[in-house]
């Protein structure tokens, strides 16, 4: 048995059903610091792992509101305060005309909030992560499904957790080195 510090234990499954079932059992067994790695999004897995992060929509809403305010303020300030131009006798504060740039900046800011928010909350870009130390992990982006119980879990014990994962009938259980 290696003396290297480990990040956790990883079990490899052949199909999504086994992974979802295993994730559910791991939660029931009392593990909390665990994550699953799959080649495509599986809704049932998010439920099994009890993942519900509702922050992103709020971030996007914030971005949208900020963009809208910025767009309208830009139109208003330039057209009324900084550089008032008489265009065909139209009022300096031409609200209907300002709607178009305001709409576009709303969408622009909200889209940036969605992308940067998603990356930020996911902690990406991440140049190094221990799970990649497992050679078989490359299959997580192809056709295999992984469940990882992390060493920082209060219930984690290398031998006990190894035995637990083995009972879930995975293809293989592996150490994930830190």
């Amino acid at each position: 048995m290696s003396e290297k510090k480990i990040y956790g234990l990883m079990a490899e499954f052949e199909n999504p059903n086994d992974l979802v079932a295993a994730a559910r059992q791991a939660r029931e067994a009392g593990y909390v610091k665990l994550d699953a790695y799959t080649p495509y999004p599986i809704e049932a897995l998010a439920e099994a792992l009890d993942i519900h992060d509702r922050r992103l929509p709020a971030v996007v809403l914030g971005g949208g509101i900020l963009g809208g305010l910025f767009g309208y303020a830009l139109c208003y300030w330039t057209s009324v305060v900084a550089y008032p131009l008489n265009i065909g006798g139209k009022p300096f504060h031409s609200a209907p005309a300002f709607i178009v740039p305001t709409f576009e900046t709303t969408i622009l800011f909200a889209a940036f909030a969605a992308v940067l928010g998603m990356l930020g909350l996911n902690g990406l870009p991440m140049p190094y992560h221990p799970v990649f130390n497992t050679p078989r992990f490359a299959l997580a982006s192809r056709d295999r499904f992984f469940l990882c119980i992390e060493a920082r879990d209060p219930k984690f014990d290398r031998d006990e957790t190894w035995a637990f994962l083995t009972r879930l009938a995975p293809r293989v259980v592996m150490d994930v080195e830190e």
Binding site: I42, V100, E104, A111
Partner: protein, 465 residues
Amino acid sequence: MTDGTPRDTSRERPAAPSGAILAPGYTFTTLTDKLASIALSRRTPKAWFFGAFVGFSLTMVLLFAVTWLVFRGIGVWGVNQPVGWGFEIVNFVWWIGIGHAGTLISAILLLLRQPWRNSINRFAEAMTIFAVACAGLYPALHTGRPWLDYWLLPYPNTMGMWPNFRSPLIWDVFAVSTYATVSVLFWYVGMIPDLATLRDRAKKLRAKVLYGMLAMGWRGSARHWQRYETASLLLAGLATPLVVSVHTVVSFDFAAGIVPGWHATIFPPYFVAGAIYAGFAMVLTLAIPLRKIYGLEDFITARHLDNMAKILLATGLIVGYGYMMEAFMAFYGGNPYERYVFWNRLGGPYKHMYWALMFCNLLAPQALWFRRVRRSVPALFLMAMIVNVGMWLERYVIVVVSLHRDFLPSSWGMYHGTIFDWATFVGSIGLFLALMFLFIRLLPMISIFEMRQILPEAKAAEEEA
């Protein structure tokens, strides 16, 4: 007609049953390997070299035309009084319209939960970005001093000047630049999981490093997927009103003017429908050769072509309704100038253009009512080409024919594109092809992770869970 089998029976493998969006027999493994190999393989199909050669050669034509333009000024184009907007605005509207189908497929069909979009969304999005890039070229060059184009943007400057936000032209700057930016974001975010697949499948170090950097350390964590899916849905929700707004704003460039033939309230919806129409024609134009060259008939099936043909037919009818309404308003509105513009389209010096347009956009696509046509690959390709030409003619009729005879007969004139107009147009097609071929070679042109979701294995898991 009970016989609904596809016409292209030349393939050796059993064809996907008509109606299927994916040929049977694929697993996560084989699907991933097949789609990833397109970008990772060392062997590039001969047809790729041919296409890329054509694209790059025409790009050289573009560079030549633009160099001459910058050297001599926009007098090298045929634009002058009274037709100050010639090929360049025609091409601008044409290209930007083409882009719309990509966003429609990636955003609107995602919100409508149409899984058949999964095999065509990626390259349709790429098409959007490259089409918008070609479109953006034209107004940028048309300013006459393209090196001062940043004056269009609102930024504090020593001249103390700001753009006029009451002008549809500045709305266009905002709409098109936002559209380009959001399309790139959507496209890139959609590619992250597939870039991770390429990173993990790549054999060569250079490919590993490059795809690795682009994938940003994506590891397919369930927590990440949950936020990723939320972000995709929200982006789709944002892109949907955006795509409608873009061609609406483009139509405001015309509709907000008083030129007879432009000043019509039907313009925004009719432009948006026309954009989707043109865009789907271009998606078909690209999809049909691509599936042949790369043997992707298993993923882009007869069902996909059939669905796209139906959308082409439906939007074509909306566009036809727009033409009818334009004619109706010209007469019902009682404005003699509007009425004259209409007669001038029908029988004036550009009447050939108008009747060719009617044939291409209104008459010819009616063949798509027949299943036999929708299921015939060569017929569909021909239809798509006809619509591509027709939509270009439509913008030509709107821009040039309306401008060349306005209120005062003393200021009438004729417009013809010069060799440099044509060179810029053909050159932009080259740029588009060149970018498209580079994309196909280097990046995953079919969304691998979204295709995994429509595999029977994934479906079974969903039902059980």
